[in-house]
């Protein structure tokens, strides 16, 4: 019988000076060549399991380990990360912290050089992995000139250069835009299929990686709570609540359709099979390229101009870097009080720069910003706001309560989870004062569903208090959920501005899974909207069963 690549039996682990076990009686087997997704809420033990698989736990972090965990025949309690490195490559969340050399070529060569390979073998390994991962054109670039997506690809190439049997990835897409994130997942699938490399990936955005996976391990409280194929995992997750379900699973569950689909294509086919097919976009609605009609745009713009007072009004805003590129090119943006705006666009489009200008962290080269009051800004890294030893020193007790951290006054902010840090940092930026505008830059990075819901509630409260809330985000599902307006930026300019359904329903990358399945004509972005659209179509289906539709009406239109 073939020995599994990973075998755990009763493996438990506790970090130093912690009573609670981060991993508790873990039992699992992973076959060579498998593609496994680790699902779980923040703090469930996903990252710890990955760190145990590569030997950092217990050798690097210390603590106590018990039971058996073998990777490629090596027991991680006896063999450290350097020995396990021959069998597994590891990629962490922040590519900036795992790139150690100055240039890409040297970065890729490092792991092979550590093994004492001769120069010719090093050169060949670098060349092959660069070609396989599509980074050959980056070989002569310096690491500090790479984008986040490029750097993450280089990190993966560096982890794979010695052709390990197992690749471990801890939320590798959390720092990437949707385009780069999707590309990365499909790159991993290709590596898995062509090279037979076993992949274990921890991700919060399950909808992104479930279609590529063979298997899902759900971790809860340090234990394996579910070990199943993706479709079976979704059934299990639906029974457990909606903490680990995907938008498509919620859509199908809400519409009473079983079983939930794993991928968009599968969902579309199921709907077609059930007689609920997407229709082409009618005139005046969002088209498949994401543009909406001139009338709709003029209407939206006029509506905004007629608003009595703007929370913030930006006109002709330019930002040009000295000796560098033009970041913003004549941005016009008017946001009303209580309006919730999602600012979207790929990396480098200028979203963060726009928020920095609104806050006054940088001065525009040209243009005007008029605000109705103070602007609060939460930058991308919430940890940057937390500079004291205790949470209570960062913000008052009222703020801690607002952040859902009552009773955690003495906690060190560095020990809080990502979502908790995010909420505390927001309260630090707000400082208990009423703000005319609240800007959040990528607040959902690395957040689980529960943390996103908590953030959504806080945004509701802020907007309810009259603040205009502007959120720069790559998370289309979150944008569709909280925003009543989406501003899509291209390189330095606004390329679409309207209601979420107008901008996102017909998008390719800037769209939600529900919209992809139901089609642009449905104008449904969230599972709830999708369920409403499907139920409307269901009624329509019943009606048409008695009166056959004319041929021109197929495929069935889902617009209510």
């Amino acid at each position: 019988m073939r020995e599994p690549l990973v075998r755990a039996r009763g493996f438990s682990y506790a970090y130093p000076e912690r009573d609670r076990r981060a991993l508790d009686d873990v039992a699992l087997e992973l076959e060579a060549g498998s593609f496994t997704v680790l699902a779980g809420t923040s703090g469930s033990g996903k990252s710890t399991l990955l760190r145990a698989l590569c030997g950092l736990v217990p050798h690097f972090h210390g603590g106590e380990a018990a039971g058996e965990l073998c990777v490629a025949g090596l027991d991680v309690r006896e063999h450290g990360p350097a020995e396990l490195a021959a069998a597994c490559g590891t990629v962490f969340q922040d590519p900036e912290s795992q790139v150690v050399m100055g240039g890409v070529r040297a970065e890729l060569a490092l792991a092979v050089e550590h093994r004492g390979e001769p120069p010719a073998a090093v050169a060949r390994a670098v060349e092959e992995v660069a070609l396989a991962l599509g980074v050959a054109h980056l070989l002569d670039r310096r690491n500090d000139t790479l984008s986040g997506g490029e750097l993450q690809r280089v990190a993966i190439a560096a982890a794979l250069v010695h052709r390990p049997a197992l690749l471990l990835l801890d939320e590798p897409t959390s720092q990437l835009d949707p385009v780069a994130g999707d590309e990365l997942i499909w790159l991993l699938r290709r590596l898995n299929e062509e090279w037979g490399t076993a992949v274990v990936i921890a991700e919060h955005r399950l909808e992104r990686c479930l279609p590529a996976a063979d298997r899902v391990l759900a971790i809860a409280g340090g234990r394996v709570a579910c070990d199943a194929a993706p479709s079976d995992f979704l059934k299990w997750a639906a029974a457990e609540g909606d903490r680990l379900t995907t938008p498509l699973a919620r859509l199908f569950s809400g519409a009473g359709l079983e079983p939930p689909p794993v991928a968009v294509k599968e969902g579309r086919e199921r709907l077609r099979g059930a007689g609920l097919a997407a229709a082409a976009a009618p005139a005046g609605r969002a088209g498949p390229d994401g543009h909406h009609s001139l009338g709709a745009r003029i209407g939206a713009r006029l509506g905004r101009r007629s608003a009595a007072a703007a929370a913030i009004d930006v006109r002709g805003l330019w930002h040009e870097i000295e000796d560098g590129p033009v970041v913003l090119r004549g941005i016009d943006l008017r946001v009303a009080p209580s309006e919730r705006v999602a600012l979207m666009g790929r990396n480098g489009a200028g979203k963060s720069t726009l928020l920095r200008l609104l806050k006054g962290l940088e001065a525009p080269t040209r243009g005007r910003i008029e605000g109705a009051g103070a602007v609060a800004l939460l930058l991308q890294n919430p940890g940057d706001y937390l500079i004291h030893e205790h949470a209570i020193e960062e913000a008052g007790s009222d703020a801690l309560s607002a952040a859902g951290l009552a009773g955690r006054e003495d906690a060190n902010p560095r020990d809080l989870s990502g979502g908790e840090r995010q909420r505390l940092a927001l309260e630090v930026a707000l400082a208990g004062q009423l703000r005319a505008v609240v800007c959040l830059d990528e607040p959902t990075r690395g957040m689980d569903a529960a943390s996103k819901r908590a953030l959504h509630r806080r945004i509701d409260v802020l907007a309810g208090g009259g603040a205009a809330v502007i959120v720069a985000t790559h998370d289309t599902e979150f944008a569709a959920d909280f925003a009543d307006r989406v501003v899509l930026m291209g390189p330095g300019a606004v390329i679409a501005d309207g209601a979420p359904a107008d901008v996102l329903a017909g998008g390719w990358h800037f769209s939600t899974d529900v919209a992809r399945v139901l089609g642009p004509a449905a104008r449904a972005l969230t599972p709830a909207q999708g369920v409403a659209a499907l139920l409307g179509a269901g009624t329509d289906t019943q009606q048409t069963q008695t009166a056959p539709p004319p041929a021109a009406q197929t495929p069935r239109e889902l617009v209510r």
């Binding site: 450290g80 396990l84 912290s97 100055g102 670039r141 930058l379 004062q433």
Partner: protein, 293 residues
């Protein structure tokens, strides 16, 4: 704006040559600055560095280094003029503070100027080194001698801008607070963040086999024409300047009165770095078939 140049891939002979020859040329130029205080010789080195930088396509980076060098040079002149007081040609009679008389002499100003010129020349030579020498390739040269030390040096070089960005982000976050938390608190948090970053990098190195790293295999690399010409320029500069020093060229006295030799030896010393750095850029070989490093 970055005052210290950063290496980027280029297509000049200085970039095409290996890290060893180009680093040796920069070191030879620095050696001239260390050996001589004569203003003509130092001016020759500065002209050589600026010329080489322009020819190598890093003129803008060298110009930025100049912005760092000039204030340093001016500071040297001011400090030396105020503190030294050596020399017989009194320019300004100052008052006495705590028993020290702050007279400004021509010789002290000149000595400060020469020190400033030397600092400026050294900064520019380092700028040329930073702009044209691949730090990873330089690491490769020292790898067989002391692998871990060389890797530590590379890591430190790589992490400096990363940590600077971290500190800049924390400073921005502090500006986003309604009340500034104070520089000490931000600095303390930045230091803690640096330690976190260091731990992350250490973990990344561990999972790439660092603690079991073996001594790298020897690499035998044939010398290209660019390697040869740049190495020759370095050797000519170093050997020529040492020879002229032994011959007594470049002598200068700043106290008690300013005495400066100006003969064929000094002219040769001035011309030496200029001619040497021109060598890699001269001839058909420099223009044709220049490859990327």
């Amino acid at each position: 704006m970055k005052l210290v140049p950063v290496y980027r891939i280029g297509s000049s002979p200085l970039h095409a040559a290996g890290a060893g020859p180009t680093a040796a040329l920069c070191a030879a130029l620095a050696l001239v600055c260390v050996l001589f205080e004569h203003p003509l010789v130092l001016a020759g080195v500065i002209a050589a560095v600026i010329g080489a930088g322009r020819a190598a396509g890093v003129g803008a980076q060298i110009a930025r280094s100049l912005r760092l060098a000039i204030p340093l040079a001016v500071l040297m002149v001011a400090v030396n003029a105020l503190v030294s007081g050596a020399g017989e040609t009194l320019l300004v009679r100052g008052s006495s503070v705590l028993g020290h008389r702050f007279d400004i002499t021509l010789e002290a100003v000149a000595a400060g100027g020469l020190a400033g010129l030397r600092i400026a020349a050294l900064v520019l030579a380092f700028g040329l080194f930073s702009a044209c020498v691949d730090p990873d390739a330089l690491l490769g040269l020292f790898r067989r001698l002391s692998y871990r030390s060389a890797l530590t040096a590379t890591l430190a070089t790589r992490l400096v801008p990363v940590i600077a960005r971290d500190a800049s982000r924390m400073s921005d976050a502090a500006r986003c607070r309604p009340e500034s938390p104070g520089r000490a608190a931000v600095a303390r948090a930045a230091l803690a963040g640096t330690l976190d970053r260091a731990v992350d990098v250490a973990a990344a190195l561990e999972v790439r086999g660092y603690s079991a790293a073996r001594r790298p295999a020897r690499e035998r690399r044939s010398w290209s024409r660019h390697d040869r010409s740049v190495a020759t320029a370095a050797a000519v500069t170093a050997i020529g300047s040492i020879g002229l020093l032994v011959a007594g060229a470049g002598a200068i006295e700043t106290a008690p009165v300013l005495v400066m030799a100006l003969g064929p030896g000094e002219l040769a010393l001035t011309a030496l770095p200029l001619l040497a750095v021109a060598l890699p850029f001269a001839g058909r070989g420099a223009r044709l078939g220049v490859t990327h490093a």
